[in-house]
């Protein structure tokens, strides 16, 4: 029984990872063949980095991910704070359901509806070209928000009310309490929300597909247009790079989870030392 269950797990995971491993492996193949590995080479990577379009897409992706994740983290943290303090049950429920909409809706509906909003507003305003960086930023921030709230809200909820009271009791003003006790406490949630947003933004294809223009392409969009008709080995190289970036970010999020507390503590200590 034990053996059987181990065997089953191994098989499924093998199937799950086989295609990804194939892509990684063949991105180093010197020939353009998908069935024969003829020799190790970095040719496809060089090919990729000679390509201006790819580099622009990379830059766009990073800029977008940085801005949208920071914006979502700020908005989402404030919202989580307010939801956790709200006395009105209906307000709380309404806020939570609204923040769930982008998570429950299929990506394509979120993308299409955002596009319709931009199209509609542009029509009313009689504006011309409207899709690009700003619409992407709005869309990415919007789909990141629920994830930030999801990771910050529990921290606010777990926080014992008497921690805040203890800080007040020991002489902190409400503002000091926020910075010395409450923020350090929720910091791990904020950090993981931020990292998650960054990763999601870097990763998104479907929603971006509808709200972007040809002059603002992110990496997933670039991959999509490049692979529309034929197999391109430089795209295997790009996919490989992205897989490792995501892997790195995931590890960072996990480490941040355990490190966040440590770091927050150090920071709080510094503020205190600096405050004398």
């Amino acid at each position: 029984m034990k053996f059987l269950s181990k065997f089953y797990i191994v098989i499924i995971f093998l199937i799950l990872y086989a295609p990804i491993l194939v892509v990684i492996l063949f991105s180093f193949n010197e020939s353009g063949s998908l069935s024969n590995f003829t020799g190790f080479s970095l040719y496809w990577y060089e090919d990729l980095f000679r390509n201006d379009e790819a580099l622009t897409a990379l830059k766009n992706s990073l800029v977008l991910a940085v801005f949208s994740s920071i914006l979502a983290t700020v908005l989402g943290t404030l919202a989580a704070f307010s939801i956790s303090r709200a006395k009105n049950k209906y307000y709380r429920r309404a806020m939570e359901s609204v923040s769930n909409i982008p998570m429950m809706n299929p990506d394509i509906v979120t993308g299409v509806s955002m596009m319709l909003l931009f199209v509609g507003v542009a029509q009313f305003a009689k504006a011309g070209s409207y899709l690009g960086f700003w619409t992407m930023l709005i869309a990415h921030t919007t789909f990141n928000l629920p994830y930030v709230i999801l990771s910050v809200l529990p921290k606010f909820r777990q926080m014992d009310k008497s921690l805040t009271e203890a800080a007040l009791d020991l002489g902190c003003t409400p503002v000091q309490t926020l910075f010395r006790v409450e923020l350090p406490y929720i910091m791990p949630g904020i950090v993981s929300g931020l990292m998650m947003s960054f990763t999601l933004s870097l990763d998104d294809f479907v929603i971006s597909h509808f709200v972007s223009s040809p002059d603002f392409k992110t990496l997933p969009l670039y991959i999509y247009t490049q692979t529309a008709h034929e197999v391109k080995f430089s795209m295997y190289a790009l996919c490989t790079i992205l897989i490792f970036v995501i892997l790195f970010l995931l590890i960072a999020v996990n480490v941040a989870g355990s490190m966040g507390e440590h770091r927050a503590r150090k920071k709080a200590g510094k503020i205190m030392m600096g405050g004398k």
Partner: protein, 375 residues
Amino acid sequence: MNKEVLIRLNGISKAYDGETVLDHIDLEIHDKEFMTLLGPSGCGKTTTLRMIGGFETPDEGDVFFDGKRFNDVPPYQRQVNTVFQRYALFPHLNVFDNIAFGLRIQKRPDAEIKTKVKDMLALVNLKGFERRKVSTLSGGQQQRVAIARALINQPKVLLLDEPLAALDLKLRKDMQNELKNIQHQTGITFIYVTHDQEEALSMSDTVVVMAHGQIQQIGTPTDIYNEPINAFVADFIGESNIVDGIMLDDYRVKLAGHIFDCVDKGFGKNEPVDVVIRPEDVDVVATEKGMLRGLVTAVTFKGVHYEIIVDVKGFKWMIQTTDFVAEGETIGLSIDPDAFHIMKKSEFSGMFGDYSSFSDELEKLSDVTEEIEEE
């Protein structure tokens, strides 16, 4: 004891969602006093404490501190510190930083902070724990850190909200002594909230018994035990047989069909009263010598004494005796005049003092539910 009044509560009322929690509380707390607010859960003791700490504002009435009205002073401007029920230690700070917290807020120099934290750690017996994370401490150690963190600010008053509730029995006893010592050493006024009557009696200078959002009685532990003001206090503090009686005249009370001499006076002629007789004050004698006669229905060996339940004309008395009696035996009971404590009838009359459904387990069960409700 210094009799200077430090805190005065004047006609304090508080209601949550229309439910009255405090009902016109008047209370004076003296300097350097160890005062305990004692009562079952929901009696308003914690709310009273939080009002002094500044976490609640009264709907009605005033709080005075050193003669000044104090109602709207926020907690961080009060010379009052609190030891919270579940300690509320900051999880992101170590022991040293937790204790130093208040001083750092006051921007004291580092050298002073260091010495003071050291002194505090010595006071609470935690030398060498500076760098420990609070999550690695035991309940008792966290408790000490919480006390040190509050005391280091040299407050005029220390508020303690059921600080020992989460500790086991042995540790609780140790901490009771230690708290009493700390109070003596520091000379700070302690206001202590608990539902444990033993804790209240053994630690306090003054005990305030509360029920239903009202103060039932204020007094020294001996006063409260010997002269309970009504059936509630008599029942809540120690074991009591509370019997319906009629005060025939001064020094003469009739109960259970027998007329007894007593030492109380000042009641109306033939006034119905509640009579408290503590279990240890009843002597077991031969049937023919007894003032009352009863049937033993249960016997429990308690080590020093036996606890027996005796049916006297349908009312079950609890009696503590060192003589062995057997279940089913009929015995005589003799009571000295000073063992009777006569109380006026109150809203609590008839609710307590009969041991017909008594059992140790039941009592423990009700203790547990009380603690859970407090959560």
